[in-house]
Amino acid sequence: MKIITWYGVLTLEDNVVVDCELFNKDVEELAEGLLQRNVAGAHPPEAGFDIRAPAISFYFVEDDREYDSLLRDVSIRAGKLRISRTNTPDMRIIQAVEALGDIDDAANALSERLSEWYGLHFPELGFSSEQLARFVKEHGARSNIPVDDAMFEKASSSMGAELPPADEELVKQFASNICDMYDNRHSIEESILRNMEEIAPNLTNIAGPLIGARLISMTGGLERLSQLPSSTVQVMGASRALFKHLRSRAPSPKHGLIFNHPLIKNSPWWQRGKIARALAAKISLACRTDVYSGELSPAIKVGLEKKVNSIKSSNPKPPARE
C-alpha cells in the first residue's frame, strides 16, 4: 500500500514502511505539491500513522529540528500560494459591492448632517441627499443664489440665520466631499455592472447586477451561491427576520434581498411571496448556468417572465379577509 506525505510517497507492507520515494527538497516545489499533488494509487496516511519518523529514517531531513523548520517553510509558502490564487474576480466584485454599501451609509449620514448644518442657514430649501450636496457645493450661502434659480424666492424670504464666510467655506467643502462620494459611488456601480456581465451573465440578466453582486457577496462567491437551495436564496439578507423566526416562532420571512427586485417591488403585496419563490428558483438556475457554462442563456429569463405572468393572471385580486 502506498501512502502520500508532504515529503514523499511511502510504501507500506504489514504496516511497516519498506520504501520511500522522496520528493525534491525544494520549498517552492514542495509547496506547489501540497496544493495539487495527486499520486495514482496513493492514499492519505491512516489514523495513528506517524509521518515524522520515515522522513528522518529515509534521510529526507537530518533531524527533528530540520523537519520542523522545512515543514514550516513549505506550509507558509503553500498558504501564500493558495491565498494569491483564491483572489478570483468574485472577490473583487464582493469588495466593490460592499464598498458601495459603505459609501451609501456614509453619504446618507453626511447628507443628513449637511441638511442640519445648512438648514440653520436655509431651512426652506427642502432638498436632501445628492441634490442638496450639489446645490450647496455650487452656491454656498443663500445670497449667491442667482435670480433665475428656482430657489431664489425661497432664499430671499428665508427665516435662516446668516452664514459667516468662514463657515460658508467649511460647509461648501463638506458638500463637495459628499458630491465626490456620489461620483465615486457611480464609478463603482459601473464597474460592478461590467464585471458582473463578464463573470455571471445569467445571474446579472435575472437578478440585475447589484442584487446579483450582493447575493455573491453574502455567500462569499458565485460558486457557493450556485450550490445553495433556492429557498435559501429567497430569504438571504432577511437575517433579522429569519433570526426572529427561529427564536420566537414568528412567521418565516418571505423574501430578503431579492425583495428589492423590480418584479417584486412593483407587484401588489398578495403576489409577492409567489413571485419571490419563482425569482429565487430562476436565480439559482442562472448561477448554476454561469458556473458550468458561462454562456448567457436567454431561455431562463423567458421562463421567469412566463411564470410571473401566470402568477399575476391567477391572482388578480387580494385574498378575502375574515
Binding site: I4, W6, D50, I76, G79, R82, I83
Partner: protein, 228 residues
Amino acid sequence: MAAKELSDGIFEVQKSGKRFIGTKNAVPGSAVYGERLVEAEGDEYRIWDARRSKLAAMVLKKMTIPIKRDSHVLYLGAASGTTVSHVSDIVTDGLVYAVEFSPRTMRELIQLCDTRPNIIPILADANHPASYAHIVEQVDVVFQDVAQPNQAQIASVNCGQFLKNEGHLLLSIKARSIDTVANPAKVFKEEVKKLEKEFDTKFQIIKKQDLAPFHEDHLGLIAQMVLR
C-alpha cells in the same frame, strides 16, 4: 511586579494592583493583536484577555491546561491567530499545527507565522482530516474552537486521526452554533454524551466548565483519549 507560573508557560502577572494572566513573549517587543506587554522580573509577558480567548478563559476557570513546553499541538479553528500566538509562546520546544478554513482569516494567520518559527499554517476544513493527514503528525494535544454544528464529531475524527494514545483534547463547545434556539445546558449535555459514547474514539472527561462571564453559552472541556 511578579510573575507566577501556573502551568508550563502560563503565568499570573501582577501590575498596578491588578492580576492578569499572560505568556512569555517569544518575540519580545512586539504585540500580535494589540494586547498589552508588561515586564516582570526581566521578562516580557503578553497579557492574555479571557474575553478574547477560550483557552485563557479555561485558565481563569481553574482548568489545568495539559499543554507542555515540548507539546506538539493540533489547533482546529485557528482564526487569525490570537490564541494560537499564546500557544506558540507556551510550546517553546514544541510545534503548533494551526488549521483554519477561511482564506481571508488565513491571510492574517500566515503573517503571524512569518514572525514565529513554531507554527505550521494549514488552510483546510477540520471536517476532513484526510485532507491534511499528509502534513500533520501524531500530536500530544488537540485544541478545538470551531463554530460548526457538529463540534463533537469534528473533535472525534481529528483525535482519531492525529491524537497520540492518552493524549488530551481541549474543546470549546459553542451552544449557539449547534442549535440557535435550544437551551445551552441541554446542548452541552448532548455534545458531551456524544463524545463519550457515540464515536469510535472514547474519551474520559477530566473537567467541564461553563466559560461565562468571559464567553456566554460556551462550555470548556478537557478530556483524555482512552481508546481509538
